[in-house]
């Protein structure tokens, strides 16, 4: 079947989509957007997190046809051209990236948090990132990065 979906502001079309395949598969294998990562395929790890109509979801758990006519924003759609989004820059500045596999999902989850919460507490950061696993276990640097991005957004950094 054909799926029409707006991805990062651009109307896209995917053909020959099997109805049981996931939005993640469509993004990665049919639309050439490998930012969202395929890891657990069961919603446990958060590495495939994207926005679906402005709500962060695990794209591995969205059936391709459920995205028909809707808006998806992936990690590729967060930067302004060459200018990294402050959340992305904070991950670079704070060394919050080790193997990098969990990073895109964490960036989207962190992006959502600081869009919604002006000055998140550590507890709020931990809760917001609770659905994203980093198997290098580099969580401290990740927390540092989110704190930096939140502070920058609040204008205190």
């Amino acid at each position: 079947m054909r799926v029409n979906v707006t991805v990062n502001g651009v109307e896209r079309q995917a053909d020959d989509v099997w109805p049981g395949e996931s939005l993640l598969y469509v993004l990665r294998e049919r639309l050439g957007l490998p930012g969202a990562k395929n890891a657990c395929e069961q919603g446990e790890c958060g590495s495939c997190t994207v926005y679906l109509d402005d709500v962060p979801v695990c794209s591995c758990l969205v059936a391709a046809g459920q995205a028909e006519g809707r808006e998806v924003r992936t990690v590729e759609g967060l930067a302004d051209g060459e200018q990294l989004h402050p959340v992305q820059q904070a991950f670079v500045d704070r060394g919050a990236v080790q193997c990098g596999f969990c990073t895109p999902g964490l960036i989207v989850a962190a992006h959502d948090l600081i869009e919604r919460t002006a000055e998140p507490t550590d507890a709020e950061i931990r809760e917001a990132l609770a659905g994203n696993l980093c198997r290098c276990t580099g969580y401290e640097k990740i927390l540092d990065a989110v704190r930096q991005a939140a502070a920058k957004k609040a204008g205190v950094a």
């Binding site: 079947m1 099997w18 109805p19 049981g20 996931s22 395929e41 069961q42 919603g43 446990e44 958060g46 997190t49 709500v55 962060p56 979801v57 695990c58 591995c60 758990l61 969205v62 059936a63 046809g65 459920q66 028909e68 989850a109 959502d112 809760e127 917001a128 609770a130 659905g131 994203n132």
Partner: protein
């Protein structure tokens, strides 16, 4: 595999009647896992995402009617004061991403004994609204679960909503797991005080083939709680309540825990949640 994409409940029910093997998919948090792992290959998916009325809640006959696809995240943020028990249970589901997609309707459809919403639905006398082209029927949560991952739905039926009475007294939910997020409950417990009827509701999760109520424990508390002159509770009463809750369960040993641990944990959760709700009841009684 076909992808059926109805825009209304009426259309969805007609499709379900003509393709009874179609698997309804809402948040996908259960169904997509089965598809991703090749555990299931249904002839069709029946997408419920486009049906606006399944994503709204309203008050009907004094109860909150929650559309089957209203995600947990909205129950947490929008219904916490009216339905505190269900909101607390919703708050423990998965992760933010899962709560943004998963719904009580989906939990009921999957009917896993470990589903987080079930204990709260049982404790609060929730009623499941089930529809087909033949009509609508209302099934109390206590009659809805019939076996491990089995419910009373007929092949042509869909869950359209769950009706939950607004809280008239304190409610609590407690769940045991290895971490706060992304946990399938080792066991779970919900309690609701209904002071106006001097009655207590309970719900046990993950400790029997189906979610269930602890009837004997409820009757014991209803009779023994000092409703009129709320004093502190005797340890003996707390302990007896815990024992009766544990006795109501029929847990098994599995990868998440042993049967004896589950019984023990249920008794602890029952005592704790009773003391939390009773403290809250005493505070409100003193203020009144």
């Amino acid at each position: 595999m076909d992808f059926l994409n109805p825009g209304s409940v009426t259309e969805a029910l007609e499709l379900k009647a003509s393709v009874p093997d179609a698997v309804p998919i809402a948040g996908g948090t259960d169904v997509m896992v089965e598809l991703n792992f090749d555990h299931r290959r249904p002839p069709a998916l029946l997408n419920l995402n486009r049906i606006a009325e399944l994503h709204t809640y309203s008050t009907v006959d004094g109860r909150v009617r929650i559309g089957a696809c209203v995600p947990y995240s909205r129950i947490v943020t929008e219904l916490g004061s009216v339905l505190p028990g269900l909101a607390m249970a919703s708050r423990t589901v998965g992760s933010p991403q899962i709560r943004n997609r998963g719904s009580v309707g989906g939990n009921l459809g999957a009917a896993s004994p470990a589903g987080d919403s079930h204990p709260a639905l049982l404790a609060t006398d929730a009623v499941v609204e089930i529809a087909s082209t033949r009509g609508v029927r209302m099934v109390p949560a206590k009659d809805f679960y019939v076996g491990v991952k089995r419910n009373v739905l007929e092949p042509d039926e869909l869950i359209t909503a769950v009706h939950v009475p607004p809280a008239t007294g304190p409610q609590q939910f407690s769940k045991v797991g290895t971490r706060n997020a992304m946990v399938i409950a080792v066991c779970a417990f919900a309690i609701a005080l209904h002071p106006e009827q001097q009655r207590v509701g309970t719900g046990i999760g993950s400790a029997a083939p189906t979610p269930l109520r602890a009837h004997e424990a409820e009757e014991f508390l209803a009779a023994e709680l000092p409703w009129g002159s709320p004093d502190g509770l005797l340890d003996s009463l707390n302990r007896r309540f815990g024992e009766l809750v544990a006795k109501a369960a029929s847990p098994i040993d599995d990868v998440r825990g042993t049967a004896s641990y589950r019984r023990h944990a249920l008794a602890v959760m029952a005592r704790r949640t009773l003391s939390w709700t009773w403290s809250e009841y005493r505070r409100t009684a003193q203020c009144a």
